[in-house]
Symmetry: C2
Subunit: 164 residues, 2 copies
């Protein structure tokens, strides 16, 4: 398969932090999670583009305009080994249906294979049927017996305080 010639994927740099945060805000709107975005440009710059990057970012451009982005990082399956976790995958509204999402996913898959990861993992919101259909066509599996649990704030502090 060939990608549309107007698409180009590149690694984001610290110069892209403002763009990246704006894309994230768009993504969060789409995910109905706008209120969950608390990250600042400073934190993104430090965590993504400092001396010890916590994630890697790909930006897809269409004729030089930002059309979407992907964020991924190391994950570990203790029973198996290294997995690549795709945290965000977003295509801007005006560029949907033009192969941007597929191009970004393919690039992330290529990174995974090149660097010896055994699988790619990500999450999808259960109401996002169009995305689920795409993932099914790719041959992905859904681990529907797993519930995601999260502890933060006072509950986290309370648990930590139990350390003698």
């Amino acid at each position: 398969m060939e990608f549309p010639p107007q698409l180009r994927i590149r690694n984001a740099t610290v110069e892209d932090v403002r763009l990246l945060r704006n894309l994230m805000l768009e993504f969060a709107e789409y995910q109905r999670m706008r209120d969950f975005v608390t990250i600042s440009e400073e934190t993104l710059a430090r965590d993504g583009f400092g001396p010890n990057p916590r994630f890697r970012t790909l930006i897809c451009e269409s004729d030089g305009k930002p059309a979407g982005y992907a964020i991924h990082f190391d994950f570990y399956s203790s029973f198996e080994g290294q997995v690549l976790f795709l945290e965000d995958l977003y295509v801007c509204e005006e560029f949907r249906g033009q192969g941007v999402g597929k191009a970004l996913m393919a690039e992330v898959a290529a990174v995974a294979l090149r660097e010896g990861y055994l699988a790619l993992r990500w999450e999808v919101l259960d109401w996002n049927q169009p995305a689920i259909a795409v993932y099914q066509r790719l041959g992905a599996t859904f681990q529907d017996d797993r519930r995601q649990v999260r502890l933060e704030g006072d509950a986290l502090k309370q648990l930590a305080a139990a350390v003698g």
Copy 2:
């Protein structure tokens, strides 16, 4: 809260790799996932205890005997920032009900707070009601609108091959 005095939590070292893999096999049996354990001692040694560790391991001993373990690593919530992911938490059968799991979780929570993570995340199998009840009592939240997706093997290769 004080932990039972016979419990001690320590960081695992490369000397613990055989023990760790054995504990993992027990854990996998308990999770009904024995067939999913493909990891070797060599891979565990490289990924957990080499120059670039992909995860950290805590071992809980009760009167000097291994009673359980926890594995955790960096995760990133792009909308928020650094999260600590608790990949495994296991208490050996003969030591259940003695505070081992709570002690391990508290230690992981303490690591999270000490090192500036904003939340702790983990997974639980949907049939594991005793664990779910414990997590609810801790004040954890369940992100039940998220489905976990995974791509590997030929499907991953096929996607990667789409990169032009």
